[in-house]
Amino acid sequence: MKILVIEDEIELQEAIKESLLKEKYTVETAQDFTVAYEKIALYDYDCILLDIMLPGGSGFQILEKLKDMDKSENVIIISAKDSLEDKLNGLALGADDYLTKPFHIAELNARIKAVLRRKKYDGKNEIVIGNVTLDIDERTLSIAGKNIHLNRKEFDILSYFLSNKNRLITKTALAEYVWGDEIDQADNLDFIYYQIKNLRKKLDDSNAEVVIEAIYGVGYKLSQK
């Protein structure tokens, strides 16, 4: 999988690149409009992370160029502007998703995975790790072919973990993903532990080949047994 990161802020670009490399993607970068423009014209990518405000031009022009060239790259806009107008504009120009800075690494991973899944031609929108199969469209979990009932939040948590296999997810990132941005630092996040405990029990009971571990008490990590 080849991913192009178009981001003018070098430090952020590097952080994203480092994270993507951990996911075993091939990563290329562009830090201004001209370089980005050249790269999309010359190469094909599975996914493009696109900043809107670029030196030398706008991310929207990149989107237009992609459209003109009839390229079906998956584009995720990563913008500092949390503006509905930009969001609608970007999606209308063919972007697949819109992520507002600052975001959690885990969130970016989940978005990229979702976009890539949609691109697969077998038509199945599911995550498979070991004997665990999570069907995103149907919102069902099956472990070794057996359906396991999950409530809405358990499903969201598991899908987030499966999209971030072997990666650390902080409690805050998890809470924001599952309960929304309004979750505050001040809010006691102990209830997350309770949710994870239930989920672990369900996974264990069905002999799932994945395990969710607590890491240093700051977050969790899902890995394959």
Partner: protein, 428 residues
């Protein structure tokens, strides 16, 4: 008071004074003129009588007026020499009017064949009270006619002349910067109105520029702050994944990540407040508050279950409000979130939705919060140092935008927030 009426009042008072003074002066002049001409007539009569007397000495025996307008009476020489011609007003009985009437009298003396006589000539005067009365009514009528014509002229012509002014005024009243309207030009040739129009257009133009640059600033500030925060968060998250960390360091990194996250929230909330206060949320739709409340309550179900909070929802009717969807969500979710997270274990949340009010009560700290300062920015529970302290300010800003009323009360050991959706005014 309207301009038309104000000018009418000023004109009426001025006319009243001007006409009043003018009529007094006019009256005195007129009276003097009448006296003058009567006195000339009396003098002329005297000369005629004296000439006639040369040929007709019977005139000397005219001792009483009895029908004529003069009388002659002999006087002593000494008396005659002290005489000067005197004109004066006096009253005399008139048989036809059966009343005393004013007359003008001329007393004079003359010598005829060595005898001295006193001659008195009279002429009837215009009745002064009649004159005053007639003049008074004439003046009153003049005044009434003047004022009536002013009212008519004001209403018909001036209204027409002032029309461009009202057009400009109406345009300004309804003008909203955020709707990105261009200033309008009304058709007028009046210099002052053209000046007014130009002045308002310049003002609008300037405000639009300031508004645009403020919006730009908001967005730039967001951009400039969000990116460094993103870098801090993402780099630390990557660092946290490093294999060589000891737990203590990991905890420290997590703490810093949380701080960065707090910074992010603070920044986002401040920008949101600015946007709300700038009325940048324009799209409106019919929002069911009931539905929103149920959605958000169920979103926090795990938390309420975890804290064993008892939820009670009492609705009498469906409350539908015309407002921006994002703002409605923010308002309700902030209130619900507060009720959930500031609650105690085994506590209770009661949501009550009536025709025009959303009320949420929750158990929590056992003392009342300050109902006045609670909605202020950065006013927060000192024990919850990580809170942004902006949640309720955002709620209040949203309510102010739509003219809703948000209040806090401490009732029966419960914290009660209520939003009255009955709009007192609509600013959007």
């Amino acid at each position: 008071m309207k301009l038309l009426n104000r000018s009418l009042v000023i004109l009426s008072i001025s006319f009243f004074l001007i006409i009043g003074i003018w009529s007094l002066v006019f009256y005195w002049n007129l009276r003097d003129e009448i006296r003058d001409s009567i006195d000339d007539g009396l003098d002329n009569n005297r000369v005629l009588i004296l000439q006639k007397m040369i040929t007709d000495s019977t005139l000397l025996s005219q001792h009483e007026f009895s029908g004529n307008n003069f009388k002659i009476r002999p006087i002593t020489k000494e008396e005659a020499f002290t005489y000067k011609d005197i004109y004066k007003d006096t009253m005399m009985y008139r048989i036809n009017e059966d009343d005393l009437e004013p007359v003008r009298v001329l007393h004079s003396a003359f010598e005829h064949q060595d005898t001295f006589y006193q001659l008195t000539v009279i002429s009837s005067l215009v009745e002064e009270d009649d004159l005053i009365e007639d003049s008074f009514w004439a003046v009153v009528w003049l005044f009434i006619i003047l004022i009536t014509s002013i009212i008519i002229i004001n209403n018909i012509i001036l209204r027409k002349i002032w029309n461009p002014f009202y057009e400009i005024l109406n345009h300004l009243k309804n003008y909203r910067l955020d709707r990105d309207e261009m200033p309008k030009n009304s058709q007028t040739k009046t210099k002052e109105f053209i000046q007014l129009q130009n002045a308002t257009n310049t003002l609008i133009h300037h405000s639009r520029e300031v508004y645009a640059s403020q919006k730009q600033f908001t967005e730039n500030a967001s951009h400039e702050l969000q990116t460094p925060i993103a870098i801090i968060t993402n780099k630390l998250e990557l660092l946290l994944e490093s294999d060589h960390l000891v737990e203590k360091d990991a905890q420290t990194i997590a703490d810093v990540i949380n701080m960065a996250n707090r910074l992010k929230k603070l920044n986002q909330s401040l920008l949101l407040l600015v946007k709300i206060e700038n009325n940048q949320f324009l799209e409106q739709e019919a929002i069911s508050i009931n539905q929103l409340a149920l959605d958000f309550l169920s979103n926090y179900q795990e938390v309420t279950d975890f804290k064993n909070i008892e939820l009670k929802v009492k609705t009498t009717t469906e409350l539908v409000v015309q407002m921006n969807a994002s703002l409605a969500e923010m308002l309700i979710t902030n209130l619900i979130k507060n009720a959930v997270f500031h609650n105690t274990k085994n506590g209770q949340i009661t949501v009550r939705i009536t025709e025009e009010e959303f009320e949420i009560r929750n158990t929590g700290t056992s003392h009342s919060l300050d109902a006045i300062t609670i909605f202020n920015r950065f006013e927060k529970d000192p024990t919850k140092t990580l809170s942004t302290g902006l949640g309720l300010s955002i709620c209040q800003a949203i309510c102010q935008t739509y003219g809703f009323k948000i209040t806090y009360q401490f009732i029966e050991n419960e914290h009660c927030f209520s939003v009255k959706f009955k709009t007192t005014h609509t600013s959007i």
